[in-house]
């Protein structure tokens, strides 16, 4: 057995590394599944459509409440950063407008008094 291991050390080592990688990735999959994050934070590259899809809301309602241009008005879907640049305001201002619209369309769980 020792002789075999010595003669084929590279093959045995490669097999051991492959098995270790199988275990490593299995543990990582388990870790990802256990620590699945909540909503992705808003980012300048997102469009209102992208944010609305994530939250299950109507993007045009967000546009209307936040006073943002619809893709039809702008000619194409714009990122939050593009909207901010066109208006000459910091992108955070657009974030706040979208967040306020989202709050209006989807009250947080504690606000539901039914």
């Amino acid at each position: 057995m020792t002789g075999f291991l010595r003669r084929h050390a590279a093959l045995v080592a490669a097999f051991a590394v492959a098995l270790a990688l199988v275990a490593f990735f299995a543990l990582r999959i388990g870790h990802h599944a256990r620590n699945w994050p909540g909503e992705e934070p808003m980012a300048p590259w997102m469009t209102v459509g992208y944010i609305a899809r994530d939250l299950g809301l109507d993007p045009r309602e967000i546009d209307r409440i936040a006073g943002l241009p619809t893709p039809e008005e702008a000619g194409r879907p714009q990122t939050l950063e593009e909207i901010a640049t066109a208006r000459g305001v910091p992108v955070e201002e657009i974030f706040h407008a979208v967040e306020a619209a989202v709050r209006e369309l989807r009250p947080p769980p504690g606000d539901d008094h039914r």
């Binding site: 990735f25 999959i29 992705e40 980012a43 939250l55």
Partner: protein, 201 residues
């Protein structure tokens, strides 16, 4: 750089995706899988068309691979001939790739995707048939596009988590395939040694 590129996805859409996947197929360090993942999210949001996006990504990958394959054919063949004259295993590996390279091209397109550009170059250098290469490459690229675009579509809003999960799952499958192959090789080696030790009739 990724955020800056992501911001360009809804603006330049299919053109940007085709250009980026073309570049990364030629070993340029572009985070194509993240871009395609985000594109899946924009498709789900209705900002991009599914067919145009999938078509552009596929076209970019396949065009890039054609470039890599031709580069391998022109420059690599001579280099491999020279190496094979000094190291016989190189010649044997090249012969193996030219005979059974299709499957390697297919798997390296999606399962072992970091190896993709290298296998493409090697396939060209090993003189794998152009039609065989193109068909296997197209099939592998289609699987890659379906995985990353589909994940982006399904996991809009959790792209980073989806990307990590996809990388881990593909890593798990790739390591599993490698472990099975190496295990089979080990068993075959043990059997061959036992058979050679057995006294003849």
């Amino acid at each position: 750089m990724t955020d800056w590129l992501l911001a360009l996805v809804p603006t330049y859409g299919p053109w940007l995706l085709a250009l980026c996947t073309f570049g990364s197929s030629l070993m340029l360090p572009i985070p194509s899988s993240v871009l395609v993942l985000a594109a899946g999210g924009f498709v789900a949001a209705g900002d991009l068309s599914a067919t145009t996006t999938a078509g552009a990504v596929l076209a970019g990958v396949v065009a890039g691979d054609q470039g890599g394959f031709q580069l391998g054919r022109c420059g690599g063949a001579r280099l491999i001939e020279r190496l094979a004259a000094k190291a016989p295993p190189v010649g044997r590996a090249t012969a193996l790739l030219s005979r059974h390279g299709g499957l390697a091209v297919f798997l390296s397109r999606w399962l072992f995707s970091p190896l993709g550009p290298y296998v493409t170059l090697a396939a060209g250098a090993a003189r794998l048939g152009w039609l065989s290469f193109t068909l296997w490459d197209l099939a592998g690229a289609a699987v890659w596009v379906a995985i990353w675009l589909g994940l982006g579509y399904g996991f809009t809003g959790n792209l980073a988590a989806a990307s990590n999960l996809a990388v881990s799952t593909l890593g798990f499958i790739a390591a599993g395939v490698a472990a099975l192959g190496l295990g089979w090789w080990l068993v075959a080696t043990i059997r061959a040694e036992r058979a050679s030790r057995r006294p003849g009739p």
